[in-house]
């Protein structure tokens, strides 16, 4: 039972972390290597909210806003000139990640920070005592997934974004403002990354380099998932599940590379990943 819960909640956490990256990759075909930095920014929003003595839940909207405002600037000044050079976009956003990491270090120091746990303690699930926060993360992932599909399927913005993903030339020919759609998508992606950063705080230590470890995992999952959120959920469940199983039964250290290795193998066999599924 604990194993099942571990698998489900680990997959949920991976999903939360990777959505922001997928949003951007799906519409803009750009890999935002500053994703790790945005997670860190989100986590430090939680630290700042805590230091200011405010309600820790307030960190969620703060991080989303901080993330999207920074995203707006990034899209406008760094990513926009690089749409035709996707490999350079990886590098430029990685450089931006370094800059953000150093700015955070300057502001908060390089020490590990602690934040209030949003939901402390454990709860009973069918007779198993389990971390209440991890259960909450599972719920949060489902809410996020549903909320996002509602946004994509139910709103005009989502429709426009899907139109740009499917056929950008046609979208332009119909008069859609593709530049604006890109900007807004980027902002949502970075906002979600900030949000994910807050949600990570109870699970991991907060320091200026915390994002890097999560970046690689999310990157692999997004590559496997392609452009679909359903595929991302599936990838998180399968690869995250494999990670939990390897960590539990073989070695936690090998568990750490499970996602990366499986992703590489899956992409070698099927270069489009789960996108066709």
């Amino acid at each position: 039972m604990t194993l099942l819960l571990d698998i489900a909640t680990s997959a949920a956490i991976l999903f939360i972390v990777a959505t922001g990256l997928l949003t951007i990759f799906g519409v803009l075909k750009i890999i935002n290597f500053a994703h790790g930095a945005w997670l860190t920014v989100g986590a430090y929003c939680a630290v700042a909210v805590g230091q200011a003595g405010l309600n820790p839940w307030l960190a969620l909207p703060v991080a989303f806003i901080a993330g999207s405002v920074l995203g707006l600037l990034t899209e406008r000044f760094i990513v926009r000139p690089l749409y035709s050079r996707p490999l350079d976009a990886i590098l430029a956003t990685w450089g931006l990640g370094i800059v953000i990491g150093q700015l955070i270090t300057l502001g908060f120091g390089r020490d590990v920070q602690f934040t209030a746990n949003l939901i402390p303690g454990t709860m009973d699930i069918l007779g198993t005592s389990y971390s209440a926060y991890r259960i909450f993360a599972l719920v949060a992932a489902v809410v996020l997934g549903l909320g996002f599909s509602l946004l994509m399927e139910g709103t005009r913005l989502g429709l426009s974004a899907r139109a740009v993903i499917m056929n950008e030339t046609l979208a332009r020919g119909l008069g859609l403002d593709t530049a604006k759609i890109r900007t807004v998508t980027f902002m949502i992606g970075t906002g979600l990354a900030g949000l994910a950063g807050v949600l990570l705080t109870p699970l991991t230590s907060v320091d200026p380099t915390m994002g890097v470890a999560w970046l690689v995992g999310s990157f692999m999952l997004v590559m496997v998932a392609g452009q679909s959120f359903g595929a991302l959920a599936l990838a998180c469940l399968l690869l995250g599940g494999a990670q939990v199983i390897v960590s539990t039964y073989i070695s936690p250290i090998l568990g750490g590379v499970t996602v990366a290795v499986l992703a590489a193998v899956i992409l070698r066999i099927s270069p489009k990943g789960f996108a066709r599924a």
Partner: protein, 588 residues
């Protein structure tokens, strides 16, 4: 057209050796003026500069963005340290560690290359793998227990007994040797192949070059060089740690290469040494600010100056390379023995569909030497698709395509080209960052193996190819960068490249699109000579029906994926069915 930037080749080569000699002197006498701190820092930086050269060869020249060089470095360093720690340090072991530190990363590099570069693999995939490899290696190091020293690494083994000055000189000499070899290689005829791959990999494949194999070999060879740097590092620093193999270190290598100037060899060397030295000097005083500065500079450079500081130093010149003007030499055509009068190309019941949508259906067609067959039909009739099915063994969904009696099913474009098919694309597919002569030499790569060291001063081509160059005036522009050619000149160049392959059958997709009247006439005359006099066969997709009428020996009409007519020019021109198709009245 003259190139003001061109420096005579001999003078450039001399300059290179003078620079190398100066570098050797610096390295040998450096320890007399530098303090211990500087020696230490610079030794490290010079070892890292060797890595930056390998990153530059992969990324700057070949276009493979890699974070993985750190992993090969780590493997080389750990192989050395593990051997010296666990087997013991002796002169024999120190000597043995050299081939081990080179071979183990090379084998790993070959395996990674094989995994990464397969037909149709994407640039992104190579980058993904280059992230996975260092992560896996680092985790293996962490889980290695006492064997690898886990997170604290290995320390306390006895390396080469050289002392600070000795290591400085050794690292410096190795760096000079690697840099010199790299510079000679990238300027050689073989080295230009890397640039050609980065520029236009599809064209390389259609010139019969197996790009996957070249990339795998390059990855393996550079992994070996990187492993040697690892050996030096393990000896000079006396400690190896998991971070040495990590992907963050891999990204630093890319940053140094980018800041120094990708695609220049010297730039990345200076980038690695400069940043390494300044970091050590400044990070004590302003630790975070320094990183911040490097990061910001990197972002700005990638956006505004993607070719790095070296590009700034050379003043944005189009081509800094000494452009060699080789002499054109006619080479006899190495024609393969032709089997009787069997058709060159034989297509039987070919079919191509995307899902339920059939683009081509029941196409049966054969072409013999000396024929010039035009393929006509309205838009969407399937002409370009048919061309693709003849040059890519994976394209067709049904039926058989045979070349000289051999089925091409499953063959890659470069295999098919090796069997005597040349393909000219609709949009001129040439190499934008090479010169005219270099493009033509690429076409000969599969026939005359290029030198890894020198730039040949002759260019051997078939007489037909030389004729095309003369007719179009390209023979006077051999040193011109392709990026400066007009659209028509690029079309002619591509045709000359394809003819230089000495194909038995040449496929041309709209060779006259966007050309002037004179250019059309020239290309028409060339095609007629090639087929009627030199015995080549040609298949031509063309919309300009006047042109088709003038030069074809046979016309094949495609309509809605089916072959509706196959006959002489007279038969097709006068057929009612063709008139109907072109006035939109015919429905399949």
């Amino acid at each position: 057209m003259t190139l003001t930037a061109a420096v005579p080749v001999a003078r450039r080569a001399r300059l290179l050796w003078i620079l190398a000699a100066a570098a050797v002197l610096l390295v040998v006498f450096g320890p007399y003026v530098l303090d211990r701190f500087a020696l230490n820092v610079l030794t490290r930086a010079m070892i890292f500069a060797i890595l930056a050269i390998t990153v530059d060869l992969l990324w700057g020249f070949t276009g493979i963005l890699t974070f993985g060089q750190a992993a090969f470095f780590g493997v080389g360093a750990y192989a050395t340290a593990m051997l010296l720690t666990h087997v013991g340090s002796s002169p024999l072991m120190l000597a043995l560690a050299v081939p081990v530190a080179i071979l183990v990363p090379m084998i790993l590099g070959a395996a990674v290359g094989w995994l990464t570069f397969y037909p149709g693999s994407s640039d992104f995939y190579a980058t993904i793998i280059s992230l996975v490899v260092p992560i896996v290696i680092t985790q293996l190091i962490y889980s290695g227990g006492t064997l690898t020293g886990s997170s604290s690494g290995l320390v306390g083994y006895w390396g080469l007994p050289l002392g600070l000055e000795g290591f400085f000189r050794l690292a410096g000499l190795c760096l000079v040797a690697v840099a010199l070899a790299a510079l000679i290689f990238v300027r050689s005829d073989a080295g230009r192949v890397l640039t050609a791959i980065r520029n236009n990999e599809t064209r390389c494949a259609y010139l019969g070059i197996n790009t996957q194999r070249i990339k795998i070999a390059l990855t393996a060879a550079l992994a070996g060089v990187t492993g040697l740097a690892g050996y030096l590092y393990a000896n000079a620093s006396g400690v190896v740690a998991p971070e040495n193999a990590g992907f963050v270190f891999g990204t630093e290598l890319v940053i140094w290469t980018a800041l120094g100037g990708r695609g220049t060899i010297i730039g990345p060397v200076l980038g690695a040494i400069g940043i390494g030295y300044l970091s050590a000097q400044l990070s004590g005083d302003l630790p975070f600010l320094w990183q911040l500065l490097i990061g910001s500079l990197f972002v700005v450079m990638i956006i505004f100056l993607p070719n790095g500081l070296a590009a700034l130093a050379t003043g944005f010149r189009q081509s800094r390379r000494a452009a060699v003007v080789p002499d054109l030499v006619a080479r006899p055509v190495q024609r393969k023995a032709h089997r009787g009068d069997a058709p060159l190309l034989d297509i039987e019941k070919l079919e191509k569909s995307y899902g339920s949508h059939k683009v081509l259906e029941d196409i049966t067609l054969s072409v013999r030497p000396g024929e010039l067959v035009s393929l006509v039909g309205p838009n969407g009739a399937g002409k370009t698709t048919l061309m693709r099915c003849m040059t890519d063994g994976a394209a067709a969904s049904g039926g058989i395509v045979r070349i000289n009696g051999e089925s091409i099913a499953g063959m890659l474009p470069n295999d098919i080209v090796a069997r005597g098919i040349g393909r000219k694309f609709q949009v001129a597919s040439v190499f934008e960052s090479l010169t005219v002569a270099e493009c033509l030499r690429m076409a000969r790569t599969s026939l005359d193996a290029p030198s890894f060291v020198t730039v040949s001063d002759t260019l051997g081509l078939s007489q037909s190819a030389i004729d095309i160059l003369k007719l179009t005036g390209l023979d006077k522009m051999l040193d011109a960068p392709v990026s400066l050619l007009s659209h028509g000149q690029k079309q002619s160049l591509e045709l000359a490249m394809v003819v230089a392959l000495e194909p038995e059958l040449i496929l041309l997709d709209e060779p006259t699109a966007g050309l002037t009247k004179t250019e059309r006439t020239t290309i028409g005359a060339v095609l007629k000579t090639l087929t009627a006099e030199r015995g080549m066969a040609a298949i031509l997709v063309e919309h300009d029906l006047d042109f088709v009428r003038d030069i074809s020996s046979r016309i094949v009409v495609l309509h809605q994926g089916r072959l509706v007519l196959d006959g002489t020019v007279g038969e097709v021109v006068n057929s009612d069915i063709v008139k109907k198709i072109y006035s939109g009245g015919h429905h399949g």
